[in-house]
């Protein structure tokens, strides 16, 4: 009982702090926001000279941040290696037989 009361008070306190922090955030869609800096304008203005591709999202993913995408592909690779290592022993189950689930 005491633990639940303590947890409730803690959560309320934390929620108040988070709400207070949210009120300090910049307004949505404000042109003066920190996210609207020269970086996005640089991408939209010079993507044709830099990458020569009309789709800016793909240009960012596979050219400007290709190194990040390489890491992402490696994450997929590591995931599939783990799955094949752990679960491939069971892969004969279900082959040709009727599934009950």
């Amino acid at each position: 009982m005491l633990r639940q009361i303590a947890a409730t008070i803690l959560i309320l306190l934390l929620g108040t702090v988070l709400l207070y922090m949210t009120s300090e955030m910049p307004r949505f869609g404000d042109p003066g926001n920190p996210s609207n800096n020269e970086l996005s304008a640089r991408y939209t203005d010079e993507v044709i000279e830099d990458v020569n591709v009309p789709n800016i999202v793909t240009a960012i993913i596979t050219d400007y941040r290709a190194y990040d995408t390489l890491g992402e592909a490696t994450v997929l690779f590591a995931g599939i290696v783990a799955v094949l290592t752990v679960l491939a022993a069971h892969s004969d189950v279900g082959r040709g037989t009727k599934k009950d689930g």
Binding site: P54, D63, T69, L87
Partner: protein, 141 residues
């Protein structure tokens, strides 16, 4: 599951889903889409096949040996494309100036963007299918 209606409709739908997935991958640098989105569509077609027939049929359609080869080679293509730029005297994964880039808006524009999108798409499709078949076909204790 053994439903004739579902299986017939799946047989009809699968080529259309796959062609759409390939379109999203190959046109990823010209229209909305890309390797991750198109690969997921491509993988979803085989997941649909696994759900309407059974997991074993889907594993016969896309065996583990093929998955291993595709997974390894697509990351290898990515790294080799990056290393090629170093070979030509530029930084890792340099694009324009090393790879040819025809006029904007055509299919082969953008140097290595299209091949890399293709590699990502095939890899994502392979990952989605292999994850699904192995997690879904797991042995029940």
């Amino acid at each position: 599951m053994d439903d004739l209606v579902l299986q017939t409709i799946t047989r009809i739908l699968m080529p259309f889903i796959q062609v759409y997935g390939i379109f999203v991958i190959v046109n990823g640098h010209l229209s909305p889409g890309g390797g991750f989105a198109g690969g997921t569509i491509l993988g979803a077609s085989v997941i649909l096949y696994a759900l309407t027939f059974n997991v074993g049929a889907a594993e016969d359609l896309y065996p583990d040996d093929l998955a291993e080869a595709v997974e390894s080679s697509s990351v290898l293509i990515f790294v080799l494309v990056g290393l090629f730029a170093i070979l030509m005297g530029a930084n890792f994964l340099t694009n324009i100036g090393i790879f040819p880039s025809p006029e904007t808006g055509t299919l082969f524009t953008g140097g290595f963007v299209m091949p890399l999108t293709l590699a990502i798409g095939v890899k994502v499709a392979s990952t989605v299918i292999t994850l699904f078949t192995h997690l879904f076909g797991e042995k029940k204790p």
